[in-house]
Subunit: 315 residues, 2 copies
């Protein structure tokens, strides 16, 4: 059986040795060194070489999912807003030469979608929207039985749906984007603002964390323990995400929305209200043929998908 | 050369005899009789039979573009919110039998998009968003070189993008939809509200029309003549439409947006600000590879597209 390497490059570099059916044989990860582009690139090479060395057999190819805009035809990173800029280092050439393997670049959300479509919950479906809610908000489209990348490979940028006519400025240059309210760091910001502005929330278990240690994980745990502030901010988040999802389901008429990404650690606490809000705001016949589900591969969707990209391009 | 009939069914039933290259040979239209479903259906039959009788040769097939949700696989009208309900009359069976021709149903925006794609400005492009701004706001997607209808044929419902967290209720059951602000009738409503609420606009040439005769055509004419109120409402409309278009271009990474529909009678007065607003709010690399253009076929896009659907299904 042929072997492939899949990588998901974010704040953590996660890599795995994966067989041609998508089974993960071995995983390696390292926290990204984001202060030096050169070191960062060497870390990626390192993960690939370690997996290659530990494989019981030759590795055929590697796939890498990157956050940001990836020109997949040219294996070029066009914009990686939440990440160190590698463009001056010719990352594609360097990685390919150092790894001694065919290497393929794609967007991380495309990789997550491809993982769930080839090996996860979306197997057999032809019209699927994949959304990843995390530090950023990404997405990918499968329509007509094909992963649709658009004309340059940038398709799927779901985080920059405008949900307010006048809203907060966004890193993308626009304002009122979904990401300014519903990404992981912005959920934390909203909790912090509520703690400052509303004395009623001084009883929240999150009040003790407001001096800098507040994290999304902490908020989700509080919500799980029925903390009113945690619950209220997650419900509000579901409203924002649901607005944008309803718009997308109306536009695409997909039969499945697969939801992944770190924010989904909140599980049904977020997915329940999100499903309800989305369905309530979607045109009835389109809502009636669409299911909203959590991904089956969890955090591994991206590495499995990246490996499956490498497989399908190098059979 | 084979002959086809294309129909666009709205407040007017417009039909044409069209050759296999998309040239219009003959047009017929009639104002829809919306008080009786039976009469309405007979009007459609009538237009088809007249065109068939006047053709210098046999007609191969007919295509019909309907407003609303059309299940194109089943030739079934699932929801026609702005139109009389024909579902109890088995319109497909009746039209096919009365016309004595293969008949094909699709959504009117799909037909418009197909017209522009096969015979108009979008020829040769593989990733195109078509939007029609009129009494309602519709759309259609061409991605990866295919018209994408989604899992049931409902794809393209661009008018129900949510652009406000709390907004006006919409006929679709949701609120904050683009259509509640930017459709033809809602543009008229906004002008009327401004005239009532802001005394500064009593100098507007539209002030004399506020007692019921105000129309979109009148507003566009006022704007053309530099009327402040007309211009201001068109600019505001461009902001709403641009927000939703930017979201869609971010999601789809199309290389072209073709804008059609009755509201586009405003021409560059609307298209200019719309283009600017959309580009400003789209992620730069995606904006950089996308053109926003007016359709080339104008009001004929839908009838040409419907005929081309009939051609491509009955070669």
């Amino acid at each position: 059986m042929r072997l492939y390497i899949g990588l998901d490059v974010g704040r953590t570099i996660r890599g795995a040795l994966i067989d041609e059916l998508g089974a993960i044989l071995l995983q390696r990860k390292v926290v990204s060194e984001v202060r030096s582009a050169d070191t960062f690139l060497n870390q990626i090479v390192d993960v690939i070489l370690r997996l290659k060395a530990e494989a019981h057999g030759p590795v055929t190819a590697a796939g890498i999912g990157w956050p940001g805009l990836v020109n997949q035809h040219a294996n070029r990173l066009e914009a990686t807003p939440n990440q160190i800029d590698l463009s001056s280092l010719e990352p594609y050439r360097r990685l390919r030469e150092a790894a001694g393997l065919p290497v393929l670049f794609d967007n991380d959300a495309n990789a997550g979608a491809y993982g769930e479509w080839r090996c996860g919950i979306a197997q057999g479906f032809s019209n699927v929207l994949y959304v990843a809610f995390g530090t950023g908000i990404g997405g990918a489209l499968i329509l007509g039985g094909e992963l649709q990348r658009g004309c340059r490979g940038f398709a799927g940028e779901f985080g920059h749906f405008k949900i307010e006519v006048t809203g907060l400025e966004c890193g993308c240059g626009s304002s009122g984007c979904l990401e300014t309210l519903a990404s992981g760091p912005n959920i934390v910001r909203r909790v912090r603002e509520r703690l400052f502005s509303d004395p009623a929330f001084s009883v929240s278990q999150l009040a003790q964390d407001m001096e800098g240690t507040l994290t999304l994980e902490r908020i989700v745990r509080a919500a799980t323990e029925a903390d009113e502030l945690g619950l209220s901010v997650l419900r509000e988040t579901a409203v924002y995400l649901g607005m944008a999802l309803a718009s997308a389901v109306n536009l695409l008429n997909v039969e499945m929305v697969v939801v992944g990404g770190g924010v989904m650690a909140a599980g049904e606490l977020l997915l329940g209200p999100l499903r309800e809000e989305t369905m309530r705001r979607t045109i009835a016949p389109a809502a009636g043929c669409c299911r909203i589900v959590a991904g089956e591969l969890g955090r591994d969707a991206g590495i499995v998908g990246a490996a499956m990209f490498a497989r399908d391009a190098n059979r």
